[in-house]
Amino acid sequence: MFQQQLVNHLPYLMALDKSKDLESIGYYLSEHLKVAGGYWTINAIACLNKLDDISEEKKQQLSKWLKECQNQDGGFGGNTNHDSHITNTHYAILLSFLLNCELDYEAAAKYVAARQRKDGSFEGDQWGEVDARFSYCGLSSLTLLNKRDLIDVKKAASYIKKCRNFDGSFGGIPDAESHGAYVFCCVGTLYLCEDLSFNIDELSMWIHERQTSKGGLNGRPEKLADVCYSWWMYSALCLLKREQWINQQALENYILECQDSDGGIADRPNNQADVFHTFFGLAALSLLNGDKYQLNPIDPAFALPKSILKNIPGASRFIQS
């Protein structure tokens, strides 16, 4: 019953915004995740090289909605009416490049830059939660908008290095336990800060041990594998040019096994597919063996198609060849 080939995920993705998944309350409760969901869906379609299948009318409609998610303070909420947050502002910027629509980038950049704190870290919003995810959102957003001069890049890097642990990997804040998803945030931030001066071999050893006997990667020692870590950590290996440190074929097979035959990818085999894992699964497959599956090359630092990035002035010099 396990898939050995790529399923056609397009119908699943195209239907996402029509189907109110009435059987799950989760649909309604994810009202605040619409900007993120939009990015995952559209980017997954971009992975499949099918952006043109989205009608012009639909793109216009999405662009109009996205603009309405921008608040007075320049930041974006997760949907219209929601308060601004750096993660949603980052998603909105990414989505705008996928949809090729202009937002008020000037104001967005100001909002993002204002989130940097004295020690170089970034807060999520005015309420002060600090996390390496926000550092990544900050660096990625301002690089894409060519506004890196608004922040202290050196300090941003030095904060991330404080999140590094004795096991060679990274946690979300200083002292926090190392975690696969934060490998992406921290390595991505350091890469964009142009400062990879940490023990890369030690981190590669740690990532190597994240590969489970079934081929998938887990996020921490003694935890279960999950498709999303394929992206979070394999992208980091790509940025560090250490792709060989895991068994790529086994990881590829694992992602294929997590596909639903009706479309969509789940966290683990036989689980419910969702757009989050569908996007990260496809993006990881693009990095692993994109040619084989005719997937659009995705950039490991920005998680956007390289074809789009090369037209973005601030980002082009960071694209990996």
Binding site: H32, D167, M205, H208, E222, D260, Q272
Partner: protein, 477 residues
């Protein structure tokens, strides 16, 4: 959506689907109204807290609801705090307490359903900070009738313990607990992490936070200086040597029980790795304005450790640059023929606090020595002299490493097809190699030879990039 089995979602009756759709519509309608309130497009409800509580219970993960709630709470705190300050109003005091207590209660209920919600944990942290402020306000005006913040924080630890009983790896809880410890001192993290480890030797979160606790508890500058008084040179280790040995026994036991898990080896490696002393092993290069010294391992924070003399005259050091395991010292240019370099351990010799503040946990154990260099036509020769007491301390560490190496070899005997103990052994041999270089450089080849043999074994079990990397690493020597 993590960990949701596909089959579970396919068994709803039509009635149930209808009910859910209704509930869903109710959520959307309520949110719609909430946003109107948020934007002052309709009148504020009479009881804003009750309203936002209802909303929070309906949509526990929507940050905007908590943002609104915090604004309402802050206004109330400011108002009541003002009353308390002006008139010492007992009523205001009681209202403040009630507000704080019921807010903590509400978040606890919501956390039970959503233990991994960043939004909820952030809100709880915000509440702890507010109650700290309110506590100091109460203290400043009324010494007798305290709010008992200490009690409240104790209860927070209780909450963490309960939540970690339900999910021992929930990093949100661990991070919150760790944050609490940074603002208060009732954590008993030593006891707690040990209890969690004994409950389950596979709990890497507990090992992780145990290492953080050790570093904080034993590695403050005052602690180090105090330990030097009682333990002399071994006091430079980031944790007391006896403590380290006890801890090593604990983790060895864990490795015996769980030899196929990654986490136990990581913690063992950390313990064995923090004891690595460092010092100069070689003079690489000498010129009339600079000298390059080679250390036994990569170094940091050695800028203030050198004194240089040319024919007994002190030379002015211009700059010290570190490149991996080399330190390049440049000095005022002059004809040199007999150089003496003194390497000082500022912490040990002078109790210098500045050096002990370094973030690198193993950067304190610098072996002081005196290097004599004679320059002649063919190049230079040097001698490197270390005090006997430092040599003895290094030997003790060497013995500790050897005991651990023996232990891992026993594990290999039982686990011949398991890559973990081999990789561990290679790490320990690397620590040993570095230490050996400080004692007697000429005996390092035996260690390298042994390591290469283990690399070959490892490649037989696991023929992949990691094994090749380790093989290449040892081959370079």
């Amino acid at each position: 959506m993590h960990g949701q089995s596909k089959s579970k979602t396919e068994t709803l009756s039509e009635e149930e689907i209808k009910q859910r759709a209704e509930k869903g519509q109710q959520i959307l309608d309520s949110l719609h109204y909430f946003f109107k309130v948020r934007k002052n497009q309709v009148n504020q409800p009479e009881d804003q807290l009750a309203f936002s509580e209802l909303m929070a219970k309906l949509c526990p993960e929507i940050a905007t609801i908590y943002n609104y709630r915090r604004e309402v709470l802050q206004t109330k705190f400011d108002h009541l705090g003002g009353l308390l300050k002006e008139s010492k109003s007992i009523d205001a005091y009681k209202q403040l307490l009630k507000l704080i207590q019921s807010e903590f209660m509400l978040i606890a209920i919501l956390l039970k359903q959503h233990p991994k919600s960043y939004t909820l944990w952030t809100h709880r942290q915000w509440m702890v900070l507010r109650s700290q402020e309110i506590d100091s306000l109460i203290n400043s005006i009324n010494q007798d009738d305290q709010f008992k913040l200490i009690e409240a924080i104790r209860q927070e630890y209780e909450l963490c313990s309960k939540m970690l009983d339900r999910d021992e790896r929930n990093f949100h809880v661990w991070n919150y607990r760790n944050w609490l410890s940074s603002i208060s001192a009732f954590g008993k993290e030593d006891e707690f992490t040990k209890k969690k480890i004994e409950q389950n030797f596979s709990n890497f979160s507990a090992y992780h936070f145990r290492s953080k606790y050790f570093m904080k508890n034993y590695n403050q500058s005052e602690n180090i200086l105090e330990r030097i008084k009682t333990e002399q040179i071994l006091g430079l280790l980031p944790l007391p040597f006896n403590r380290l040995k006890e801890e090593t026994e604990l983790i060895q036991q864990a490795i015996y029980i769980q030899p196929k898990e990654h986490g136990v080896y990581l913690y063992h490696r950390w313990l064995a790795g923090v004891v690595q002393p460092y010092g100069v092993t070689k003079v690489e290069k000498v010129s009339n304005n600079s000298i390059t010294l080679s250390f036994n391992r990569a170094v940091t924070n050695v800028e203030n450790t050198f004194e240089i003399f040319n024919k007994e005259n002190a030379l002015k050091i211009i700059n010290v640059r570190v490149e991996g395991s080399n330190a390049i010292i440049s000095f005022e240019e002059q004809q040199v023929d007999n150089l003496k370099i003194k390497i000082h351990n500022q912490i040990y010799e002078n109790g210098s606090l500045e050096t002990t503040m370094s973030e690198d946990e193993s950067s304190k154990f610098l072996i002081p020595s005196e290097i004599d260099i004679t320059i002649n036509n063919e190049g230079f020769t040097f001698t490197n002299t270390t005090q006997k007491e430092f040599q003895d301390a290094t030997q003790e560490i060497y013995k500790y490493l050897d005991e651990n190496i023996d232990f891992i070899k026993q594990v290999i005997e039982e686990e011949k097809e398991n890559r973990f103990p081999y990789i561990q052994l290679l790490y320990l041999l690397q620590f040993k190699l570095r230490t050996q270089r400080l004692i007697d450089e000429s005996k390092t080849s035996e260690i390298i030879k042994e390591a290469l043999q283990h690399c070959q074994q490892l490649k037989k079990i696991q023929n992949d990039h990691q094994a090749q990397f380790l093989y290449d690493f040892w081959s370079q020597f």
